[in-house]
């Protein structure tokens, strides 16, 4: 039970990271970006690319990676952001200028998503990949909890990044401008805020979050070309459940989905095993997330922290 809770918290921290980026985009750019999942995959695969290019400097104690991984994450972040900014410049910016509706933009992002995923398949192939072939031993903690050092790294680095984004949004001029633009676009323009700059910063912040989230997920699980597409489901559920545009909503939503999926699939798996029924519960995890969000939205139609009209 505690093991499931811990892995739920770790999985939830990755969802939170991605959900904050997605909710910022949905709120400021005004549409649900379906290609966001592919940037998740791209971030993970770019890290793999740079790990292959950079020299290997050994690993940190207990962890499965070292300095080369941290540098690879940094380079991957830059490359993912670059791809996102190019997608905006040559695709979404033109659609915005044409007065495209949020639904049209979302459908266009779905098309872009298929294109990006195809490119990932072409570049890296369909097979499952890993950053390392080393088998990592779990550490034993009190209460009989077993956890890998990589998982501790994933949780703390995800939370550190979440805190940095929170500080950026609340303490910096650009962060406040992003919040202002999400609040009232017309007034933001009239106050002298350059909306083009704010949009670019939204892509940059989301790019940092999604590329790191992708890499952390790949450290914990594996790399697959469709990993981002599959991960989009818990991300959307977390954002909708927390309330579109809400930082804290994305955090609570992400953690709730992560913990619920792990607990429910784990406990149900044990139950079916006890009943001698052969069912693989892992394939039903997205369904658990959806059932959860439907129940929440029945009582809170705007999400837990959502504003009316969102």
């Amino acid at each position: 039970m505690f093991d499931l809770l811990i892995s739920g918290i770790i999985y939830g921290s990755i969802i939170t990271l991605g959900a904050i980026g997605l909710t910022l985009m949905a709120d400021i750019l005004g549409f649900f970006n379906f290609s966001y999942g592919e940037y998740f995959s791209l971030g993970a695969y770019c890290t793999l690319l740079f790990l292959g290019i950079l020299p290997q400097w050994g690993t940190f104690p207990e962890l499965s990676f070292g300095w080369s991984m941290l540098l690879a994450i940094l380079f991957s972040m830059v490359l993912t952001i670059l791809v996102m900014l190019l997608a905006d410049k040559f695709f979404f910016k033109k659609l915005r200028a044409m007065g495209a509706t949020p639904l049209f933009l979302a459908l266009a992002s779905l098309g872009l998503s298929f294109m990006l995923r195809a490119l990932i398949y072409i570049a890296w192939g369909p097979e499952v990949r890993y950053y390392t072939s080393t088998i990592q031993m779990s550490l034993e903690l009190p209460l009989g909890i077993f956890i890998k050092a990589d998982e501790i790294f994933i949780f703390f680095s995800a939370m550190a990044l979440v805190m940095l984004v929170y500080i950026f949004l609340n303490k910096t001029k650009m962060g406040k401008a992003m919040r202002a633009m999400s609040c009232n676009l017309t007034l933001a323009k009239a106050s002298g805020i350059q909306t083009g700059k704010v949009i670019a910063w939204t892509w940059i912040i989301s790019g940092i979050l999604v590329s790191v989230a992708g890499t952390l997920y790949a450290i914990a699980v594996q790399l697959r070309p469709d990993m981002g597409w599959t991960f989009l489901i818990p991300l959307f559920v977390a954002v909708i459940m927390g309330g579109i545009g809400s930082f804290w909503g994305a955090m609570v939503g992400g953690m709730t989905i992560g913990i619920t999926e792990e607990l429910m699939s784990g406990l149900l798996q044990d139950l079916f095993f006890a009943l001698d029924v052969n069912v693989d519960m892992s394939i039903y995890r997205p369904a658990i997330a959806f059932i959860f969000v439907v129940v929440i939205l029945l009582f809170r139609p705007h999400g837990i922290f959502g504003k009316k009209g969102s």
Binding site: K173, K176, A180, C183, N184, A188, A190
Partner: protein
């Protein structure tokens, strides 16, 4: 030379034209009102001046520089500030953050400007950490005007700043607007539906169905039969 010189502008939403050949001038430090019934195009006119809506025809000069083709942030940087009638604050941000957003184009610390606008609206000083969406109607209006003053604009466009306020607050708000022109030297272009506001202006324009029908000094406006007949149906003679 006028601070604001509007020459024969046409504006509207898509195919629907709202303003027809509107011309108007505002001198430095002057309070000018635009009177007109609902649907006359007053708010559309201010949106066109602020760059939110691009005029289809005509010319707008601010300090003798054309602004009708510029983006709103450029226009704000040139000294024109617009306070809309509704949704005029950032509701989920604090009072202080709202004022900081008003000073977005300033490169330095906005603290001095915040103190300056709070000397005009001292009620805001004790509410700096309060969320703007939780303020009362009057406080919210004060914050909206204070936000508009953060860049020390040469002209402030106010869209019905007294709508929805209690009668005692209307007078206070109009006094504040007068104080702004005296202390900061900003001109004010005030859109209103009430004759009370006319008493605080130097000149005014009567806008009906998207056209300037009449313009005169304060005394001329108050005495004019056309204003009473056309705008107030002759019932509210002052």
């Amino acid at each position: 030379m006028p601070i604001l010189d509007v020459k024969q502008i046409d504006a509207g939403y898509g195919a629907q034209q709202v303003l027809f050949h509107v011309s108007l001038t505002v001198e430095q430090g002057e309070i000018v009102t635009i009177l007109g019934p609902n649907g006359a195009g007053k708010s559309t006119f201010l949106k066109a001046l602020a760059g939110i809506l691009k005029p289809q025809q005509g010319e707008i000069l601010l300090n003798n520089q054309p602004i009708h083709t510029l983006e709103p942030h450029h226009i704000a940087s040139m000294g024109l500030s617009w306070v809309p009638q509704e949704e005029n604050v950032f509701p989920t941000m604090t009072v202080k953050e709202n004022l900081e957003m008003g000073a977005y184009l300033l490169s330095g610390d906005p603290e001095e400007r915040i103190e300056e606008v709070c000397s005009i609206f001292p009620q805001l000083t004790e509410r700096m950490g309060q969320i703007a969406g939780n303020l009362s109607g009057g406080q919210r209006q004060m914050l909206a005007i204070a936000r508009g003053l953060m860049l020390r604009p040469s002209i402030l466009l106010l869209d019905e700043p007294t709508t929805g306020l209690a009668p005692n607050l209307v007078h206070i708000m109009l006094e504040k607007i007068r104080e702004i022109t005296k202390r900061l030297g900003s001109a004010v272009l005030l859109v209103t539906q009430t004759l009370d506001a006319v008493r605080f202006c130097q000149r005014g324009y009567l806008l009906t169905a998207g056209e300037i029908l009449y313009s005169d000094t304060q005394a001329g406006l108050l005495a004019n039969e056309n204003v009473h007949d056309l705008y107030f149906g002759g019932a509210s003679k002052v």
